[in-house]
Symmetry: D2
């Protein structure tokens, strides 16, 4: 007889991310034996018809267009925020005030100042909180982190990361929230947030940044047929960074790269080794060690699916491969594994930290100078 | 309000394949809007404790150690057979006699003669039946088939396929059913069945085969600590084939390849183009066309995740990648899409056909000569 | 002051292979410090104008349309045979009778019987002889052999090799010697000879073979505008082989593969490791070992250019890469390194052995049965 | 009878670059029919024994330790400067004054100011001059340039280039000129010069730069056994750039990357396409076009060896591959093709321009701010 307690979830937002999160909840118990069972009890959204359809598709018993009412339901334990970024903070604050644990998609907010409000609310309420940096939960990336922590590359000296897509390459793509700065749609935040998180997770705090940005296509067709809309975000940005440790790094984030669907890659060079990950081959990790037999000089293509690898044993047989969805399943597993004590990792504090780096990059691009994280944090405290 | 009818499924076998199938049923409605809703109502297996655990993990409301009783339940519409191959036919026959539709994992049977019994039962009962050649439902492979059908490679001349694993490479791996001919565990059937299916699906009927087999490790430790057990299957086999169309092909199937986890690859060369698939990069397909601009001479690495590609639009955003599991989800979607009228593809008749080719390869290896499919079929009819 | 003796070479044949060999002689002294200096003193061919042009291009002081006269020159030490295969034996025999060392391009002859004549002449004359299996001298392939010999893969169990090109894919390609069986142009010999050599070099003697062949385009335009010419060679062949050691292997040789320019690949699976080479990335070698850390599960992409690798130290800096030409340079270096004592490796005896395997494959394809090498050798002795 | 005039060359410097250039002269006539014949008449260096050895190895009739005397020989037409960078300018100036054409290895000088002296001397003397940006002459890179010029990617928006090696990764590597700023050994200049040249060649002038540099290993063992020597160059640098066209770019140059032998890669994203080159697979070029059939979504792996590709037809058969050396051969061919009229491309003016960008990067890293090229040029004029 099934005796494990249920954890009840409200998903706010039924779009692409809502679907990915729903997938995570459905599959988590099949992949890992958890101390509790997730049950999504309600999903919300602005369009009744669409959210009802999503509820049926995701096998969720209730739906609503009133997210406030939904998250305040007594039976809801966790609020999972899957709206566009500009709406995150309002939901997070309300959920925290209602005493609910919060899982918020990235980026945390449309600005660092907003993000601080979210973290404050969560801290004040004393609820568990997590930010949706799901890429940490891909086997190959988790292995990469593990190898760094185990000293496999020695002291990290160089970090490089890029994320290239063609999402914005076609001038005919109509305006939506992703082109609107006010709604949080910068390329720095959308693509960069994940990479900044991974950088700080693996290499430690970023101390300062220097960035440049470009908006190659300044206007977009109005989806309603009105006059062209002005784009207020970056199509592409790049940045140099200095870590507190003295390591140096580079970032490239671009949605203007023809036939680059979602090509994230990152590399770490340390005193004793190199690690390389290419998301297009997400079940692989490349590794080379300085003390390896010189006759075997080169990098290994690790098939990051071996039972000895993180997250791998519970999935499919070796060599069968997982996809993007697996990261959401693993995220649910990790969060529920320690429910309700926590701690949840990465917390909203991590999300806020990443927001600070995004803000430093934006400021640097605008002011054409190195910007320290300390400066961003001071400015935010000052303006409160 | 949800008004779609339910289709109720009994899964027989809770192991790796049972898990993959359970995954398929859980996710199918999330990926595609179907005319009915799958509901797994019972799962069965020999070990009460393990099957109960599986039922909880897969969120299935009932479990049983009595598969006959389970499949005969009134509310069961479909019996999904996920046992080891040697037990398939008995379950298929019973399910058909009980008037249930049948989805049977591959290979259909431990022998061609046995497989014929299964097909006969299904035909007699007039129930829908399908064989679990799930690789057909990977986006890149479905695209490969589509391109062939659209004439992208012209007339097929050469086929080559290989499946290399290291499953049997370690002599310390103890004996289990996979090493036992009687239970259907040949390498030809286990790895080859998928490739033979794909070959006939894409190139047409195989007319004759010439194979060789090797068993490099003739004995295995007994898992219960008894004397070593004799291995009665092939560790590795290879085959030349001639298709009815005049095309020629090669197959290699081996479980003796160190550090080859599950490396399936296939290639088709036609009069006008080449197509290549490597399962280690399962979201990619390689294509080159004779009439392409010679200045761009080479193969394209198609990212088989574009909304224009089969199965892709309903999954994740472009570039995010799916894994092995997606093929089981797509299989459920395809089968339920036409429930209850059918037809289901590939049917058990396809499974039986593949069994005939497996048998021809085994016979050829034993008798060291070319064996025609006609001969295998004649012999079976004769012996009945 | 330069005091090393000169070794004088006559090149017979000024086409593609003559050019590659001339390249080898020009560069050898630059790459390795040799005990003697190669000097090509004469080049020959049938077309005066073309051979004169080649002599100038390759910086060779003399040219001739009379190959017999050229090879008999007193100052000639080595005769380098670069004609089409059907003419090899006549030149080799004449050179041997004139007391010259012989380097002969592959395949040795248009038939095994012819090849035996060549070897007999060389043996009778007691001259050094070598066959041009230049791929042995690519760094990555030499490293592959070295690793096998060092036991890195343990006992070899499986061998697979393929060579795919699109040379014959276009039906408009006019007839020439490559389509003429009498002139030695089979696909088995042209592409297969190299692979057979590598197989026996690495795995030991092939005991028996089973092959199939196809000629998809039976006629070719006559280059002189006459009626279409009948093709008397195979467009594509494949073969299963059994080695004397008990290892099993497969070969595929095809010139019908659209957009496959010259894609040779080979793989060895042993009891303890796997080695893989892909000629399209000729400076790389892939290796996986059973006793490697399971957390690093996978294959290494060795950059076969490290100073510790064969042939690498004398070439370019690490990572710069060599091309096909380097194999001819290394061949010259190896042969001259032990001039005039020898032994030269691989000798014409190796070339003849490969010819026997080619013949076994041809016979097997024609007679649709396993053919042993012993049978081929017996038949040849018998018919003399 | 050979009637083409000879062009006589003096090579100054017998080390790695001297060898690569000697290779180029030896092979050029074999690869392309040129209007004149190159003849290296003398090679020079500081160590008599070593330069004599090199002369024999490279088949050069004379050698000298007195480079001034050598380059002033009456029979010398071209002086080829292959010394370490710090010595380039002195040789170039002397050669120009002696009325000789000059081919100078990159980087042109140890500083922009020095480089200006070299260009002035060449201009004053009215001699032909070229800078050794040999990577322009690899088939795949020449094809990349050609495709950009033909509009295949539309207007270039993003450029990214990196060069990663492990040359400096081992702290035990002893001090030599490469660690000495005064001798011109910066990583920016050594690795970056090629990439900067390619960037400006393909995308147009760089307007401003922002760079950071690191020297991770501040001291190196003295090769003579003395006290440790201070390293005065960067181990690694990275830079953001803005092109005059408005395109943006990134550079990464690092010699601290374990198991990265010489891994240069570059990518161009334009309004209509993407081009990508990875030097580790130097016979390949990747290309994707926006207007390509979406069903074939992805990048093509062009095998840049087709007779229709630049430099390819005269080399080896399709698919055989060339190496680094081929770029030096092609360089000789291109320069001699238009001898003695010229113009030679890229000229010393290009070399000087690249030097200006290097200097801007160094200054930017030191002063932690954007530096324009205009500023660098003004400063140099001012200080004269």
């Amino acid at each position: 007889m099934e005796t494990r307690p249920e954890v009840c979830i409200a998903i706010v937002g039924y779009g692409g991310m809502g679907k990915a999160h729903a997938y995570g909840y459905r599959i988590a118990p099949l992949i890992r034996t958890l101390p509790c069972r997730p049950r999504v009890v309600v999903i919300t959204g602005r369009h009744a018809k669409a959210v009802e359809h999503a509820a049926h598709a995701y096998d969720i018993p209730a739906w609503s267009t009133d997210w406030r009412a939904a998250i305040e339901r007594d039976d809801v334990d966790v609020v999972d925020v899957c709206t566009p970024p500009g709406a995150h903070v309002e939901v997070v604050v309300a959920a925290a005030r209602a005493g609910k644990a919060v899982l918020c998609e990235k980026p945390l907010a449309a600005s660092y100042a907003e993000g601080r409000r979210a973290l404050a609310a969560v801290r004040e309420a004393g609820v568990l909180s997590a930010i949706g940096f799901n890429y940490r939960r891909l086997p190959a990336i988790a292995l990469l982190k593990q190898l760094i922590d185990d000293g496999a590359v020695g002291e990290v000296r160089l970090w490089r990361a890029r994320w290239l897509t063609d999402e914005f390459a076609d001038p005919a793509t109509p305006f939506d929230w992703r082109f609107d700065r006010g709604l949080g749609g910068t390329t720095i935040a959308d693509l960069g947030a994940h990479l900044i998180d991974l950088a700080e997770w693996m290499v430690g705090e970023i101390a300062e940044v220097l960035a440049q940005s470009a908006t190659f296509i300044p206007e977009r067709p109005d989806p309603g047929g009105g006059p062209a809309r002005r784009v207020t975000v970056d199509d592409a940005s790049s940045a140099l960074v200095r870590f507190a440790s003295g390591a140096q790094g580079t970032f490239e984030l671009a949605r203007s790269c023809i036939r680059r669907p979602c090509d994230m890659a990152l590399e770490v060079n340390g005193t004793r080794g190199t690690l390389f990950f290419d998301y297009a081959r997400l079940n692989e990790l490349w590794f080379g060690a300085a003390d390896d037999d010189p006759r075997l000089y080169g990098l290994r293509r690790i098939r990051a699916e071996h039972p000895r690898h993180p997250y791998a044993a519970q999935w499919w047989p070796l060599g069968q491969g997982v996809g993007w969805g697996s990261s959401f399943v693993n995220q649910v597993c990790d969060l529920l594994e320690c429910w309700p004590e926590g701690p949840w990792e990465p917390s909203l504090a991590v999300g806020l930290r990443v927001q600070a780096v995004c803000e430093a990059m934006e400021r640097s691009a605008a002011e054409r100078r190195w910007v320290t994280l300390a400066e961003v944090e001071r400015a935010a405290q000052h303006s409160e």
